[in-house]
Symmetry: C2
Subunit: 392 residues, 2 copies
């Protein structure tokens, strides 16, 4: 096991009706004037934003609103938020929405107290040392941003999608009410589930030996997703299934299942170019890329792929030919993705093989990338090609 | 799933040589004058205390020492600590040791800033609202106190063993170096492992329906313990096995595997009377009590006991007779405990059936107790009787 620090100080406020307590938690964590940050209006239409405002009103906390965050959140909205924060003397950022809104809120929180251009954090020029406190009211189980120190923003000029991370970005609190997910379309629910599983797989495939506790914790999250996702696709108002997925999504990405081990993250990097190019959902892009990545790399550690096939997918171990077991595990993953309505190839995603060279180039790989198998640009091109043609 | 709050803000500093950074972390969390609290001298003899002091010296943090914490830590030591803290103007409590030392440190941290008698917290007269910051350097994987808000203290007058809990008691940081565990005797290692597994079982047996994510996380910790414990018994210097157990012990008790579900905790309550009466190790007492408790209650939910038998112990499901599967799971647990050198009955523990009435009486059960099966005093007596005579 590698040495590690694990720090997840977010207070999770989970369950029915908990959004009505948001004012109490903003106050607890020092907020007096809040920027309420949200997306393209579903929080308005559902009445969630009104309940949030009522809770802030009740606690005497004032607020300014900034909606309009897009999926694959843009730098322009971050600049707009930073301006408002500075002009209005905002001291707390409250994200009401999903991963995009939370990531945008984090960028505003860090950018507002930084003298330079916030994009410096995302172009790796400097790291985040401080940020305004952030709280969240989560409305989709997917990105895990409600419990992580990570943020991904897309720069409109060139559609560059880049991420950063810092302990200072970890939310002070996250309100998580599974009922808020009842109205999510199946497609978005499935995209979220795919993202959650991908967060686990990025950690699971490691060269670090003998990390049984985190192997088992990863498998616990994956098995939960495999059981619960079809249930919410079948019945979007199944509270118990929604609740299990929602907490699994947080556990998948605080890093409690990934400490002490090298991690990969190539599938995320490769996918980011897809969603930057086609503005597709991150989860849908991962459904196309991650099994293709697995097919490209599994020979690097057949027994690890056999382990997940047996322990998670219920494949019988072929002791004579472990590679068959490994490959069957990847096939089960793709079958699962299709069964929940995810695309599994370029055509289903709306991507085009002619763009592969541009996507590879925009990744800007300097030498090699990835923690499990080091990929060169030509390897990434091959993975895109496998993804393009994939079938069950 | 029940509504819940989950808050685990402790910074875990895990791995080889990390105790040399303790001064940095004390400073980070505001300590300027530290009470170093430790046990009966193993930290002195091993040189650990010297390394801790060197790290504090390096950061210019001053300190006062208070050693001598006993297993089943006593109120007298807590009073002694509170006096020193007040007299010396201590602002940070640093526990160097295991669960007993950490629990004692927490009691001192809360008692020092409370006007009344600290025992008020443990006799349920009042709850803990504030405490001095606590940090830990962990030297045994067992109690999970390094990541929990819990503390258990024994009042010498009457040998009353009582617990309390509060977010204010959660350590600011915990340094966890698996190498510090290399010199632990096998018996203590096995007691610790039993305690870790018991923390999971107390959460696993629940009446809350459809809590797949926490079921699976519980099972992940249990399977890790079943794999890794025999390896450290066979080779106490196996770093990887020690590391897996050490992190499993923390995960078992921050409550991340227990949120959103009713929990039981009767085995702990029943055991506390054993260790208060005979001053035996808590883990050894649990090895005797917990399987007996399982035998007494399993008919309350045969399928839950069958689930753990199949998923964790690898028992084949008997679909014609699930009860046989459930019972076989309990038998496997007891076999495992004996295989790692734990006592499984009163004789092996050094307990006496004639004391059962006194232990039942001292539990002070007001009506019924426990979250899974409600036990009356006569039920507890029966569990002690099952435990007394247990064999494989």
């Amino acid at each position: 096991m590698n040495n590690f620090n694990f720090f997840s100080p977010t207070e999770f406020v989970f369950g029915k009706d908990r959004e009505n307590e948001v004012g109490v938690f903003v106050k607890k964590y020092g907020g007096t004037k809040v920027l309420i940050h949200y997306g393209r209006g579903s929080a308005v239409r559902s009445g969630l934003l009104d309940r949030v405002k009522a809770s802030l009103d009740k606690e005497g906390v004032s607020y300014v609103e900034l909606g309009g965050v897009m999926p694959n959140p843009r730098d322009s909205k971050v600049y707009e938020g930073i301006d408002i924060v500075r002009k209005e003397g905002i001291d707390f950022i409250l994200a009401v929405g999903g991963g995009s809104t939370i990531d945008s809120a984090k960028a505003i929180a860090a950018g507002s107290v930084y003298d330079g251009d916030f994009w410096d954090f995302y172009s790796y020029k400097t790291s985040i040392k401080k940020a305004l406190p952030v709280g969240t009211v989560l409305s989709i189980a997917a990105a895990g941003s409600e419990g992580s120190g990570d943020s991904v923003i897309t720069k409109e000029d060139g559609m560059l999608k880049r991420g950063t991370g810092a302990d200072a970005l970890r939310p002070k609190f996250s309100v998580m009410n599974p009922e808020l997910l009842f109205t999510l379309p199946s497609y978005q629910t499935a995209c979220g589930a795919t993202d959650i599983m991908a967060h686990v797989f990025e950690r699971y495939f490691t060269n670090t030996k003998e990390v049984e506790i985190t192997d088992r914790l990863c498998e616990a999250v994956l098995m939960t997703m495999i059981k619960e996702t079809p249930r919410v696709i079948a019945d979007p108002t199944n509270y118990e299934a929604r609740a299990n997925i929602m907490w699994a999504g947080t556990v998948a990405h605080t890093n409690i299942v990934g400490v002490g081990r090298d991690q990969d993250w190539n599938s995320h990097g490769i996918e980011h170019e897809l969603s930057a190019m086609y503005d597709c959902a991150h989860g849908a892009g991962l459904a196309v890329i991650m099994p293709a990545w697995m097919e490209f790399v599994y020979k690097h550690d057949v027994m690890r792929f056999a382990q997940v096939a047996v322990r998670v997918w219920g494949v019988k171990m072929d002791f004579f030919n472990p590679e068959k077991t490994a490959v069957e595990g990847i096939r089960r993953f793709r079958m699962f993705l299709r069964s929940i309505g995810m695309p599994i190839n370029f055509k289903e995603l709306g991507a085009d093989v002619k763009d592969i060279p541009e996507m590879v180039s925009k990744m800007g790989i300097d030498g090699e990338t990835g923690g499990f198998v080091h990929l060169k640009p030509e390897d990434v091109a091959k993975i895109y090609e496998i993804a393009a043609e994939a079938e069950l």
